[in-house]
Structure formats: structure tokens, C-alpha cells
Subunit: 223 residues, 2 copies
Amino acid sequence: MTDTLRFAVLATDIVVFTVQDGELCVLLIEVLERPFENRWALPGGLVKPEEDILLAARRNLAEKTDVKSAYLEQLYTFGELDRDPRGRVVSVAYMALISSEPVNLKTTDRYGGIGWFPVRKLPVLAYDHREMIEYAVGRLRTKLEYTNIIYSLLPEKFTLTRLQKIYEIILGRTLDKRNFRKKFLSLGLIQPTKQFERGGRQRPAQLFKFKHKTFKELPKFFD
Amino acid sequence: MTDTLRFAVLATDIVVFTVQDGELCVLLIEVLERPFENRWALPGGLVKPEEDILLAARRNLAEKTDVKSAYLEQLYTFGELDRDPRGRVVSVAYMALISSEPVNLKTTDRYGGIGWFPVRKLPVLAYDHREMIEYAVGRLRTKLEYTNIIYSLLPEKFTLTRLQKIYEIILGRTLDKRNFRKKFLSLGLIQPTKQFERGGRQRPAQLFKFKHKTFKELPKFFD
DNA sequence: TCAAAAGTGTTCGCAATACACCCATGC
DNA sequence: GCATGGGTGTATTGCGAACACTTTTGA
């Protein structure tokens, strides 16, 4: 091998999802550099020669937000020759999920802005980042149905209605309240707390929490 | 970016599956170079600077077999810092599926041998290739249940029993013959031919073929 | 007392499962 | 004629889907 060493530029891009205002949203930053000036892009950056790719994803994410993402998963590696007009860059895409609590977004002078965008109304994106987001949405939908990753999109305590809404928003269809509760509770993933969410002018909703906030595959789930 | 260009060695490894003699088998080559001399490894190699990764996988596969694989899918990118003792090598792993027809295997002076190994009885492997194979087996099992990729593991014409055996071998459990046929035929993916497989000292089995040999997701499948 | 969301059970239909015998052939 | 795998139908069950009213609170 040593006589034929080949090199490529390695990068990582992170599709950070959260649910906000009834929409599945993704975190984007505004590019200033040509040829994508004023377009929006996924947070990400280069992987250092002696840096683990997963850690590079975490680092790049930490440089833009103060979020410790609850969940980070490698998605797919994008290596089309012409995906970056500046030259050959191979990018390992990740998906991150964070709870929809307020998040501090940083910005540096290398970027114009940073913000959450509903995946249903994305701006014009730089590079192949639209493709990455579409891929990530597909993966998220799939995983929602056979794993417990939804825990990473929720705060510590939450109502069953909020839980259901997240499923509905991501899956893109409504679910029957009684069937949803019956089925989800039977999974045994969550337990009721003794607290209730008050404040609306309606009956208070009981707050639940996950027994364990660790990734798990489930036997079955919602079709 | 140009002021901070970073480099990594990019490679690809291919987990080539086939079903042979009642076993799910994977194609391995024998490494001669230190420090993995006499261990077995997945076929693969470096990605050239101006080469698409998928094409690099195809090329590396073609250099070892004369198989045009029916199916090739990117699996996961392995980038642990110490996964290759010779230095930092990031490898994009692929999964290939081929029909269990006889395949010509080539070998070059850079490798000691090449052959098929049952995934249940793997030799000691080089690098992180065992991990890659385990990942690939998981993906294969999953995809078998919600896609039609099994077509790529079968010859043009096949009996229903052979089809069922492949499911049983990969899923690792037996299936009921009547239920299997009822369900698979109801998917409408295959059609009977007018030919029968003779030769055994039993009733000849009707040969079937796939209507389309293109990748498809299925509504549901075997649990 | 009214508006708003919380909470709760039963029925129905279908799809998955379990299960056993006759058929066509080669030897 | 017998051994071998090929081929076929029905009954049961469990799960997902459909569906409506009462409860609790704040204003």
C-alpha cells in the first residue's frame, strides 16, 4: 500500500433535528464563501488527520451550538466527485437529535447566520446538503418505528400528547389517541411521574419520563 | 477551507455474500503483508483521488472476481484511528450480493488465496473486518424483510424451495412451507415459468423467475 | 357554564400462525 | 413399491384499526 498512497479530503456534516412549533426542523448555517455565498448549509467541517470521525462531528456541532446532542448516528458517506466545487471532498454525514428546549446558537464570522428551518420549507441549500437531509429524514422515520430514539427528542418530563405529536409530525400523519397510548404504554419504556402539567385552561396532563434513556431496538412498532 | 486542507487515506472494503451449501458465505482473501500475514480480509483497496467510491468498490471487486454483482450497497464508514496499524485509513464498507452460481475467483501475487467462508465459521480476520461482516449480516437480515433484494442471491430461474431455503439460512430459522409460499406468491414479485427442475428422484419442482430484477421496498414481510 | 384538552374500552377485520396429507418422479 | 421432496387448504388467534364519550380545569 505504501507505494500507492492516495489521499482524499475528509469532512463531516451533521443533520441536527429537533421538533419545534409543530414542525420537524433542521439546523442550518449561512455560507459566506463563494460559490455558495448566502446559501444555507449543514453544520460540519473537516476531519483532522488524527481525529475520530464521530468526535469530529461532535466537535463541529459544539462549535456551532452549545448542545450536547442526546443522539448521534452515522448516516451515509457522500463522495460524488463534483459534490464540492472546490475539489474532492468526501463527507461522512451524521444525524443528531436534540430535545426541543431552547438552544444557544453560536455564529462565527465565517458564517452569516444560523437557525432552525422546517424540513418542509427548506431554503436553497449548498452542496448536496438537501440530499443529506432527505436521507436523514428517511432514516429518522424508519428508526422511529423500530427503536426508542424518540427519547432524544423529548425533555426529561413530557405529556403523552406531546409524545404523540412528535410521532405525528415526523411520520406525517395523525394517530389515534387511544390506540397510541395503549400501544406505547404497553412497550414499558416510560413511567408516569406524580407531576402534572398545569397552565392550560383544561384538565392537567400527567407527566411521564423514560425509564432509560439509552438506545434500544423494539420488537415492533407503529406501521 | 483551502488554508486548512486535511488529508486522510480513503479505502473501500466489500462484504460479498452468497449462499452456498446451506450456508451464508462471505468472500475473503488471504493477506501476505505484515502485520496481518496469513490472516483473511475482505476484498477492497484504496479509492483513487479522482474515483467515485462506489466505482472504486466495483473496481476492487472486479479485480478479484469476474462477478458483476447484482447488488451493491454502501454500509457504513469505519474510521477508528487505530483500525489499520499502518496509519490512518478510513474505509467505506459496501455489501455485495451475488447469485450462488460458480464464480471465477482470481488471485494475485499480493494475496495468498481467495475463497468463500461461512459467516458462522469465520477464520481470524485482519483489521476490523469481522466487525464489518457482522454489520453487513445485520443489514442483510433487515433488508431481506422489507425489500426484494433476495432476487440478487438467486439465479435467473429457481424453485420455491430454494427461495425459501435462502430466507431460512439468512434469517436463521425455519419457515412453514405453506405459509411461505402463500405469502411470497401474494407479493406478486415472481412468476412461474413452464420449466421444471428434474433430476432428483422426486416430483419435479416448478421453476419461477422474478418479474423485475430491480430494487424495491415492500409493504411488509416476514417477521 | 363553557371551552379546551385529558383520559379511557370495546368491537371488528385481517393477516400471521399452526397444522397433515396426497403427488410425481427415480431408483 | 418405496423413498424423496413437491405441492396444496383450513381453522384459529392475536394484533392493528376504527370509533365516542366523560373528566378536569381555567376563564
